[in-house]
């Protein structure tokens, strides 16, 4: 076929760029994670010229409380709480907006606006809102909500619930949200949800609109109520969208950096520390490059477990279509 050679020549730069900047760099990071490169010294060759010490950095990492269990715990709690909250809000808003709402476009744009912002901006604003001295407390106090809050927290039958939420660090009824280790992770989850739930709404709304009007009409003819149509016809159709949403939000959670770093710096203490912050500080503040590389490789493996099956199934279903 004409032009095949030229086609391949024109695609070569992208292939080579990807080979170097993605695959070779990952291999380089993996190699670095096997060395004892934990000192400030310019490298001589192309690779870190330090002795290879095998998996010792990984052993150190998993023997460091900050990483295991702390960072892994925080990432797990953040990921699950963030996904549940965003999916619940996103699905609710999508269904509500699907009811022939006046001003649908305006509502939609308001819910999506945070998506246009940087996590840095979101973190700066929410850090102030959650500031115990100036922020949310001063808004809630005149409304009497603070009294309700204290009452709920000291209500004995609910104590097991608060204990669980305290343990998970998402007890957002506590006072200083970003300064109380029992609540700080919850504060970050709320800010992340504020930013991303509009995106989830857009995905679900597009999914609902993708279900043909004929299908809805057929259900109506069969005598189904609007509520039944949602439960039995529309929501089951959203399953592929739900999978996409969970994978995308999960991928964002596993590598979340700027939002947490700017809101809490991983604190108080290490109550909201996550692997990306630990990695950043290890490499660029403590010059523990090999340790940082091992954190990065662990992050990559976990992300790959989430993303590769998804990517695979998407590309395959595309091939069949």
């Amino acid at each position: 076929m004409r032009g095949r050679l030229l086609t391949i020549l024109l695609l070569a730069p992208a292939a080579i760029a990807s080979l170097v900047f993605v695959y070779l760099f990952i291999a380089w990071t993996f190699y670095a994670s096997l060395t004892s490169w934990n000192a400030i010294r310019p490298l001589k060759g192309l690779l870190p010229d330090f002795p290879i010490i095998g998996l010792a950095n990984y052993q150190t990492l998993f023997a460091t409380q900050r990483f295991w269990p702390n960072d892994v715990f925080n990432t797990a709690v953040f990921t699950v709480a963030f996904i549940i909250l965003s999916v619940a809000i996103g699905l609710l808003l999508a269904i509500l907006l699907d009811q022939h709402i006046r001003g649908e476009v305006l509502f939609r744009n308001i819910f999506l606006l945070p998506m246009a912002l940087s996590f840095v901006v979101t973190a700066t604003i929410w850090a102030w809102i959650f500031n115990p001295n100036t922020g949310i407390n001063q808004l809630l106090d005149p409304l009497g909500i603070n009294a309700v809050r204290t009452g709920l927290l000291s209500f004995a039958p609910l104590k097991p619930l608060w204990d669980v939420l305290d343990f998970l660090r998402i007890d957002v009824l506590r006072l200083g949200l970003t300064t109380d280790p029992r609540a700080a992770l919850g504060a970050v989850v709320i800010a992340a949800t504020w930013q991303m739930s509009g995106f989830v709404m857009a995905m679900f709304l597009a999914g609902l609109r993708g279900v043909s009007e004929e299908l809805r009409e057929a259900a109506r003819v069969d005598g189904a109520t609007e509520r039944q149509i949602y439960v039995h016809v529309l929501i089951p159709q959203l399953r592929p969208v739900l999978v996409s949403v969970i994978v995308i939000l999960g991928y964002i959670s596993l590598k979340i950096f700027d939002l947490v770093f700017i809101m809490t710096r991983g604190g108080p203490g290490i109550a909201t520390d996550v692997p990306s912050i630990f990695m950043y500080l290890s490499a660029f503040q403590s010059q523990l490059y090999a340790l940082a590389a091992s954190i990065a490789i662990v992050m990559l493996i976990v992300s790959a477990i989430v993303v590769i099956p998804y990517m695979w199934s998407q590309l395959r279903s595309e091939g069949q279509a």
Binding site: R2, G3, R4, L6, T7, L10, L11, A14, S18, F21, V22, L24, F25, I26, W28, T29, L92, L96, Q99, H100, I101, E104, F107, F111, L112, L113, A116, L117, S118, V120, V121, I125, W126, I129, T134, F199, A202, M203, A206, R209, S244, I248, Y251, F257, D258, P275, S276, M279, Y280, A283, F284, Y289, A293, A296, L300, S303, A304, V307, M311, E318
Partner: protein, 299 residues
């Protein structure tokens, strides 16, 4: 997510049975929507109101009170902080523009070319190559950060705006290729074949047939790339070491460090940082949403 569904989202569904009259259910629906509107807009109110407060006001009022008068002092401080060695949002804005514009243009054109070749000049292994390119979209960048710093240091681009732009171009290839590949899948290959019969080759057909049809694709990809590069923080903070080259997100973060108690300055800085992408969202929202939905792989 197909192009049609994305298009359907941007235009409300024709109402089969528009209901009129009063109903408690509809009241409840609107009430819930208004409550969420407050949730989404409250931070916007805080950031705008507090950016107009004066220094004495900041230390005596709560962040929820509206400003007594419109004062641009905090905006001025945010743009040029009176501290030695801190770049301020002003120079950050300039740096971000100088880094973002070339990165957006080059990564979009490059992605368009890749998408065209992968859909209209299909060859054995085209899908495999696509998957090979796409993988870069799904890695945590921590996994390439250390060698990237080393690489940029060796070629003398560490701590420079061209170095940052180069980075954003390289890691932008997967998403721009993905969106254009989906976009061009909807364009009939016969158009390219007809151009070939008329004697146009690979490049001729791209130039004469594909490019003129690509404007909406470029708008979607351009907005997507603009928003993500402008808002990016991790590369910005690790690949620069002086305020002279720091992008605006890093400048905002530094502002929070040096003006810890002055939330009027921080809020003004946050607004200034957000203005360009918010404007893009307000005026080109339709295309912005399509870019968002493209993130779910199938465009």
């Amino acid at each position: 997510m197909s192009e049609q569904t994305a298009a359907a989202l941007t235009t409300p569904r024709p109402s089969a049975r528009r209901r009129t009259g009063f109903s408690w259910t509809r009241m409840l629906i609107y009430l819930v929507l208004f409550l969420f509107t407050i949730f989404y807009l409250l931070p916007v109110y805080v950031v705008v109101a507090d950016s107009f407060k004066t220094l004495p006001e900041v230390s005596t009022t709560s962040i929820w009170q509206p400003p007594k008068s419109i004062d641009f002092g905090a905006w001025a401080s945010a743009l040029t902080p009176p501290l030695v060695g801190s770049g301020g949002i002003g120079s950050g804005l300039v740096n971000s523009v100088m880094m973002t514009v070339p990165a957006v243009v080059i990564s979009s054109v490059w992605g368009s070319l890749n998408g065209y070749l992968l859909t209209k000049w299909r060859f054995r292994g085209a899908d495999l190559l696509f998957a090979f390119l796409l993988f870069g979209m799904f890695i945590p960048y921590q996994a390439i950060l250390i060698p990237l710093v080393q690489f940029l240091q060796r070629i003398g681009l560490y701590g420079t705006l061209p170095g940052l732009a180069l980075t954003h171009i390289m890691y932008g290839i997967p998403i721009t290729t993905l969106i254009f590949r989906n976009y061009y899948s909807a364009i009939p290959t016969e158009l390219v074949e007809a151009a070939n019969v008329d004697g146009a080759g690979v490049i001729g057909a791209y130039w004469r047939v594909i490019l003129p049809l690509s404007i909406p694709g470029f708008v979607v990809v351009g907005i997507w790339q603009f928003t993500s590069i402008w808002n990016e923080f991790l590369f910005g903070v690790t690949l620069t070491n002086s305020p002279n080259v720091q992008p605006v997100t890093v400048a905002l973060q530094n502002l929070a460090g040096s003006f810890a108690a002055l939330y009027n300055v921080q809020m003004a800085g946050a607004i200034i940082t957000a203005i360009p992408t918010v404007l893009a969202f307000v005026f080109l929202g339709r295309y912005f949403i399509r870019g968002l939905l493209a993130g779910s792989l199938k465009g």
